[in-house]
């Protein structure tokens, strides 16, 4: 009896481990493969007769050198960072007051408006990019990073307003009411009492906005054709793939360097994003 129970437990653990190994292999493999490819010599990469999972020649830094010295990759990283910072600023300025107002409005209006704003997040760039291409042209912003700074808040503001509304709702009204009895105005209570305790929420919004900016592709590829104005997610697939020669080592390095830091930071906040995604279906 005890042996049977033990066997069952061992089988359960093995099954559990098996499931995890399968999924980690499937989901993380492309990134492992980027890592291997980045440091392999070109000759090694192109030798089909040898085991591709091993370093058949000594690892090399040549691909990274090419990436940073002979391409505009570094510029693309800087562009992404600059657009990210600007979009974060715009998003905060617009979404913070809106989120707070939606959380504190009395009556059904707050909830209804909140959901309406959330739903605009569902309108994808692939519907809007065609009219935008002409609008951006009319504004003379083609090939300018300002086009991205202008348009990206259209998808960061709705979702971040929704997230912030949730955060502010979780803060008890009594705190502000107490502060207001002590003589602060509503705005004063918001700035001096609510904002300090909602810093975690603001940080979440900052991270989320930044990752959305880094991931965006459709608008970037539509508005920008000058290589020096690309962001990372657009520059690598359009510029480094062009032509018949693929510099796989450099490309994989480019993908890896841009992906991993974002993934690390995002990972810290993922539970908060999920809380926003689940639209209150989980309490």
């Amino acid at each position: 009896m005890r042996i049977a129970a033990k066997a069952k437990r061992v089988a359960g653990t093995a099954g559990h481990a098996g499931v995890l190994v399968f999924f980690v292999t499937f989901l993380a493999f492309p990134f492992y493969w980027m890592l291997m490819t980045t440091f392999k010599t070109t000759i090694d990469l192109h030798d089909v007769s040898k085991n591709p999972f091993l370093f058949n020649e000594a690892p090399t830094l040549e691909h990274l050198k090419v990436l940073f010295e002979d391409t505009q990759y570094l510029q693309w990283l800087i562009n992404t960072g600059a657009v990210g910072v600007a979009v974060v600023a715009i998003t905060l300025v617009l979404a913070v007051p809106a989120g707070y107002a939606l959380a504190r409005m009395t009556g059904a209006w707050g909830q209804t408006l909140g959901i309406a704003i959330f739903l605009t997040y569902l309108v994808p760039p692939t519907i809007l990019f065609i009219p935008f291409s002409r609008i951006i042209g009319a504004l003379g912003l083609q090939d300018s990073l300002w086009s991205l700074v202008l348009v990206y808040p259209s998808f960061t503001v709705p979702f971040c307003t929704w997230l912030l509304m949730g955060f502010y709702k979780a803060i008890p009204r009594d705190l502000e009411d107490a502060a207001m009895i002590d003589g602060l105005s509503r705005l004063g209570a918001f700035v001096k009492v609510v904002t300090p305790i909602s810093l975690a929420g603001l940080l979440t919004v900052i991270i989320f906005t930044f990752t959305l900016v880094t991931q965006e592709f459709v608008y970037g590829v539509t508005f920008i054709t000058a290589a020096s104005s690309y962001t990372v997610s657009v520059g690598v697939p359009t510029f480094l793939v062009r032509g018949d020669v693929y510099f796989w080592g450099s490309m994989m390095g480019a993908c890896l360097i841009a992906s991993v830091p974002i993934a690390l930071i995002y990972n810290l906040f993922v539970d908060r994003f999920v809380a926003g995604f689940t639209v209150g279906a989980v309490k």
Binding site: V19, L27, P30, P97, A101, T120, L122, F129, I130, R134
Partner: protein
């Protein structure tokens, strides 16, 4: 008690301020709403108008042509291919993603050592920019150096002369695209379902166990029914992200070989932006809208339910 005092203070100390607050809320909301109206609402209306016009990239003026543009795009066989592919990719992806995400969420709901690292690895496809992840796959699917083919031959799954060209044959290319979409959606679906799993109170399981319900019975009669709303959320987001996606097809196949893997979003891009036919592109992209409306309605129903309970 606390709310009662709060209400009393509002009445007795600041009758005027309560009135002012309505204006404060409007003032705080106005910038965000204005931005959304100008940068989502206006372009959307413009898109509707474009689809009824003959506008091109270079044209200075545009004429209203009614439904002629729609008539023109549905005459094109590639449009129907794109529509079919979009539906096939979306549906097949959701089926696989949902199955995988449930299994994976179940495995992640127990505690084990190194869990945070496993979770980090599992989340990578969702968190990393998809255009870069897709390039990783482009290399994995490479026609000469595909690591899948090498491994297949090494394990004798593929014969010595079998060397599938993943992105070069229509059916294989569709399968390759679906694999990448599943790869990208599974992490998001998993964390959403995991949030639902952890929200089921342990005492329900304990009580059922005391009453003699086994693992499968609990799974089928407790876990799945309680998970239904959250699973729906995972499916809705999955549908949106696969249905409207341009990136995976753009990076992997550019719609090829011979336009057999075009989807609505990529066909809109190649027609409207690269082909310069803005009217046609707008019309194609509007075919995304009915499904999005349906998704939005389900979200509304879910949100209302959450409000009531």
């Amino acid at each position: 008690m606390a709310t009662a005092t709060a209400a009393k203070t509002q009445v007795s100390y600041r009758p005027r301020l309560a009135d002012n607050e309505r204006w404060l809320w409007r003032l705080m909301l106005a910038p965000a709403i204005l931005y959304i109206v100008l940068l989502v609402g206006f372009p959307f209306l413009l898109s509707l108008y474009y689809s009824l016009s003959d506008v091109t990239v270079g044209s200075r003026e545009m004429n209203f042509v009614g439904l002629k543009t729609f008539a023109r795009i549905i005459e094109n066989r590639t449009f129907w291919t794109a529509l079919r592919n979009t539906l096939v990719i979306t549906i097949v992806t959701q089926i696989f993603a949902l199955f995988f995400a449930n299994v994976l969420a179940m495995a992640l709901s127990t505690d084990f050592r190194g869990k945070w690292f496993v979770r980090f690895l599992i989340l990578l496809p969702w968190v990393a920019p998809i255009s870069l992840g897709a390039i990783g796959w482009l290399w994995i699917y490479d026609s000469i150096y595909s690591v899948i083919n090498w491994t297949g031959q090494a394990l004798r799954i593929l014969g010595p002369n079998d060397w599938p060209i993943w992105l070069g044959q229509p059916n294989l290319a569709m399968a390759s695209i679906i694999i990448v979409q599943v790869w990208r959606i599974v992490p998001l679906a998993t964390v959403i379902i995991l949030a639902g799993l952890t929200s089921i109170p342990q005492d329900i399981h304990d009580a059922a166990q005391v009453d003699g319900a086994g693992f499968w019975r609990r799974l089928l009669q407790i876990t799945f029914p309680l998970l239904l709303p959250i699973t729906l959320v995972a499916v809705l987001f999955g549908v949106i992200f696969t249905f409207t996606d341009l990136i995976v097809v753009f990076v992997l196949t550019r719609g090829g070989p011979y336009d057999t893997t075009q989807v609505l979003a990529s066909w809109a891009f190649f027609t409207g932006i690269q082909g310069g036919d803005l009217a046609g592109g707008a019309a194609v992209s509007l075919f995304l809208f009915p499904v999005l409306t349906a998704v939005a309605i389900v979200f509304l129903i879910l949100a209302r339910r959450a409000e009531v309970t």
